[in-house]
Amino acid sequence: MDKLSSIIINKISDVVLGKEQQIKLALSCLLAKGHLLIEDLPGMGKTTLSHALSAAMGLSFSRVQFTSDLLPADIIGVSIFKSDSHEFNFHPGPIFNQVVLADEINRASPKTQSALLEAMAENQVSVDGKTYPLDDPFFVIATQNPLYQSGTYPLPESQLDRFLMRISLGYPPKTAELEMLQQVQTEKQDYAQFACITATELTEIQQAVNHIHASDSLLNYILELVSLSRQSSEFPYPLSPRASQAILQAAKAWAFIEGRDFVTADDVQAIFPAVTEHRLSPALNAASPDTSYSQKLLDAVDPV
């Protein structure tokens, strides 16, 4: 494994116990310049993970708690009329940070959701006809409660597509939970000492990820997976070309974390469920939650 990556992962693992796989996925999502959606029950450590991730990267962090009465201006910012200078002044909202945690995104109204997602897509916001660029790197971590919980507005499919990955944390293993309980409750995590790299270093790493080699047979493998989802009637939502781009980009980031300069089929398989599951079945089917479309695809196509 890449030395730097393993340091980062170890550091985050100290905070989020027993979730190494998810941390790796989240990290690769960040390195692939994508946005992350975490779907889980409350109290599973979603916020902790995102906070730790941004701190480890040395990025500025802000958190927006989404509620049903949250307005777009609450995220983006407002122009306020200043009576002494007789002009409008723009007060940037929480979105002007490098890492934005949108907590419980599906509890806000669709209008507010759209405002955030638009900002994610364009990397800029417009207020009163003026355009303000967002920070770079800009990374959104959204969390959402499972859809069957009351008081939620499901994200539309088109907007789910904007997230590179969707992961869920799940309960920690027993040993990890035990360890967590044994830990002395310190007042508060000191995230100031947490940074492993700087923002510019992160940008360099993201560049390096782009240059990871993907052989023809690997691209072929991705194409086979994607085209199977389009050909078979089993899959209600076929994968888009943007999805195949996402698979490749995420696999490259995964390969980087693994310390390789080329992508293998194992990399693709590792990120594939996280990248494609929310595209293949946007509304997690409550009736049969364990049928995983992405796993079906992986099982049907031979690598190489």
């Binding site: 047979s217 992508v263 194992d266 398989q269 099982d299």
Partner: protein, 668 residues
């Protein structure tokens, strides 16, 4: 090779260019065969087809396209009216080929186009079988086939397509050679319908000035190669035929001799010479197509070859008209003197005089005869007259006034060999000595590289023969008394370079004084000779000789077995080469096999089955259940394999990892 699945793919520019180039060559040959209109039509069609590639806004309007079709119709119709059926068929083919190119938009048309091209090449080879043409047409075929490759493999690079096709052609060449050598030589199923309106070379009616005219031609007449020491070129009097009837203007064959020619045609029989005296000279001759029956040989020639027949005037006559190159074996006995002929018949045939009188000549001969006592003295006196008076040897003799012999002897005194031979024979006959004119060729050009003599049309010659009861027919060449250089060297020496081939400024012969050009000309002609000798004239007998040389006896069970073995070997060779080509190792298929080998070994030895969709690395857990060592091995294998499959590797690195993988599979 990636096969193109979708046949409705558009035809690429490179493909169209390759097709047009190949057609340009092949149809140009057709245009030489008088289909010039059609060839021009092809150029227009090709230009129209290529235009959209270079001028994107170009689009042929419907009415112009229709008018092109109408032009094609007109071309075909005019050729129906003006030419024979074969020419029309070819015009039709060329026009249709051009229209196919005009509408070359799909794979189907491309295939048609190439097929027709192959047919046209085969047709061209019937007319243009010389070595250089074969090479050019062969290249055209390669270009056309590379157009197919270019289209189907989607190369779009001429170099790649052509080099691939050349590879294939080189592989096919040995097979073609073997097939050429061992396939049974069938006689042609049909004859060339092409009838030459004019036969080439010497005609068996000679007017004064005819041979002089023929001497303007540098075309090849025939080639000869001697088994032993060849005679001197000044002694190479290649006899073609004998003329005995003279009407004061034209020398022609006598009716008696023509009756022998007919006999040859109906019964294929001639005379057999007896009492021939050694030494004998053996040689073989390859004639060009002359569309006549006359063959060429030194005196006194016999041939045991079928179809080559001796006539009583010592000529060799072919039972078939020579519509193509013909090779025959001859034995000559230069010192033979045959005397046992019917004296009366000879006198009757060879003392014939024309009705037109030449009074001056008759008077002069009478006077000469009174002065000399013997025939020999008389002959010498005539020859001395030629030698000492101011007679000139010229390619452009003045046209003679009637009576022609008088005009020549006492007025113009410039003539070519037929003037001297004809006049001398006439004088002999006036003097009562039986004499005749012999027409043929004199000398020849030696090609040291190929060890053979080339005889060209400008070597054409005529000389006289007189009958002497004790010696038989004796050759006398009056030309040698006028222009001895003609006999000692050749025509070029005799008349000078300026007059030689005066009407052909571009003939290579004119530049013989440059050593490089001469060497090159010799080289090319030798190449053509060997081609003729070994390929064009490769017939059943030659094949038999070759098989004999290779396998000894050519009959019996052993030979049959050997032949069967050879053919079997040939086919298995083709099969093996084909199989190897089909399974040529691409890196991808190599890896596929490597992977297959590894998983099969796991399945057989350890019952570890690979599920669909599993990567190799995912099998590690199952290997761990067997032993740690196996798991370790498997992991290393996976590492190397991943490098091979996914990493950008150089050739050397690929080899290293590939070897490692093979090693590890063995250790599993």
């Amino acid at each position: 090779m990636k096969q193109r699945q979708n046949t409705s793919e558009p035809i690429l520019l490179s493909t169209v260019l390759l097709v047009c180039a190949a057609n340009l060559v092949v149809l140009f040959y057709q245009s030489l065969e008088n289909h010039f209109n059609a060839f021009f039509f092809f150029l227009v069609c090709a230009a129209v087809r290529l235009a959209p590639f270079f001028f994107p806004q170009f689009k042929l309007k419907r009415r112009y396209e229709i008018s092109l079709f109408i032009i094609a119709l007109i071309i075909i119709l005019t050729s129906i009216i003006g030419k024979d059926i074969l020419a029309t068929l070819f015009t039709l083919l060329v026009c249709l080929q051009s229209l196919t190119i005009l509408r070359l938009f799909s794979t189907r048309e491309l295939k048609t186009c190439v097929w027709v091209l192959l047919f046209l090449v085969a047709a061209n080879l019937l007319f243009f079988f010389e070595f250089q043409n074969v090479v050019i047409l062969f290249m055209a075929v390669i270009v056309a086939l590379s157009a197919l490759i270019n289209h189907f493999c989607n190369y779009n690079i001429y170099k790649e397509a052509v080099s691939r096709m050349i590879n294939i052609a080189l592989l096919a060449l040995p097979v073609a050679v073997i097939l050429f050598l061992v396939m049974p030589r069938l006689p042609p199923l049909w004859k060339m319908p092409k009838v030459e309106s004019q036969s080439r070379g010497l005609q068996d009616k000679i007017r004064f000035g005819d041979i002089a005219e023929l001497s303007q031609s540098s075309n090849l007449a025939f080639r000869a190669s001697f088994d032993g020491q060849p005679p001197k070129t000044s002694q190479m009097y290649w006899r073609s035929f004998v003329l005995q009837n003279f009407d004061g203007n034209i020398w022609q064959r006598s009716e008696y001799m023509e009756s022998w020619q007919k006999l040859v045609k109906t019964r294929r029989s001639g005379v057999q010479w007896k009492n021939l005296q050694a030494p004998a000279v053996n040689y073989q001759v390859i004639t060009e197509a002359s569309y006549q029956n006359w063959l060429f040989a030194l005196d006194l020639a016999t041939s045991r070859q079928q179809g080559v027949i001796s006539l009583p005037d010592f000529s060799l006559y072919s039972s078939e008209t020579l519509t193509q190159k013909f090779r025959y074996q001859v034995t000559s006995y230069p010192e033979s003197q045959l005397t046992d002929f019917d004296n009366n018949q000879i006198k009757q045939l060879n003392l014939q005089l024309p009705n037109v009188a030449n009074p001056k000549t008759e008077q002069w001969v009478k006077a000469l005869k009174q002065q000399s006592t013997t025939d020999a003295e008389l002959i010498q006196a005539v020859l001395n007259y030629f030698n000492q008076q101011d007679f000139y040897y010229s390619l452009k003799p003045e046209v003679l006034e009637s009576p022609k012999i008088d005009d020549f002897l006492f007025n113009t005194r410039t003539g070519f060999c037929e003037h001297y031979a004809g006049t001398f024979t006439y004088i002999m006959r006036l003097a009562g000595i039986p004499a005749r004119v012999v027409v043929g060729y004199l000398g020849g050009e030696y090609n040291p590289a190929g060890d053979y003599f080339s005889v060209y049309q400008f070597d054409a010659h005529a000389w006289a023969e007189i009958w002497q009861a004790d010696k038989g027919w004796v050759r006398i060449d009056p030309t040698s008394y006028v222009a001895p250089e003609r006999v000692e060297f050749n025509l070029q020496q005799a008349i000078g370079n300026d007059e030689f081939l005066a009407e052909r400024d571009f003939s290579l012969f004119k530049y013989d004084q440059f050593a490089a050009i001469r060497t090159m000309r010799m080289l090319i002609s030798n190449l053509d000779y060997q081609w003729t000798l070994w390929v064009l004239n490769y017939d059943a007998t030659k094949q038999k000789d070759l098989l004999k040389k290779l396998f000894g006896e050519t009959s019996g069970l052993a030979f049959t077995l050997k032949l069967a073995f050879l053919i079997l070997g040939l086919f298995s060779f083709i099969f093996v080469v084909g199989w190897l080509l089909a399974h040529k190792k691409s890196p991808q298929s190599q890896l596929q096999r490597l992977q297959q080998k590894a998983t099969q070994k796991l399945a057989k030895k350890y019952q570890i089955q690979r599920r669909q969709g599993q990567t190799l690395r995912q099998l590690k857990r199952q290997t761990q259940q067997h032993s740690e060592a196996l798991a370790q091995n498997w992991q290393t294998f996976c590492q190397h394999f991943e490098q091979l499959e996914y990493a950008p590797l150089s050739q050397a690195q690929f080899k290293i990892h590939y070897r490692a993988c093979q090693q590890l599979i063995k250790q599993l």
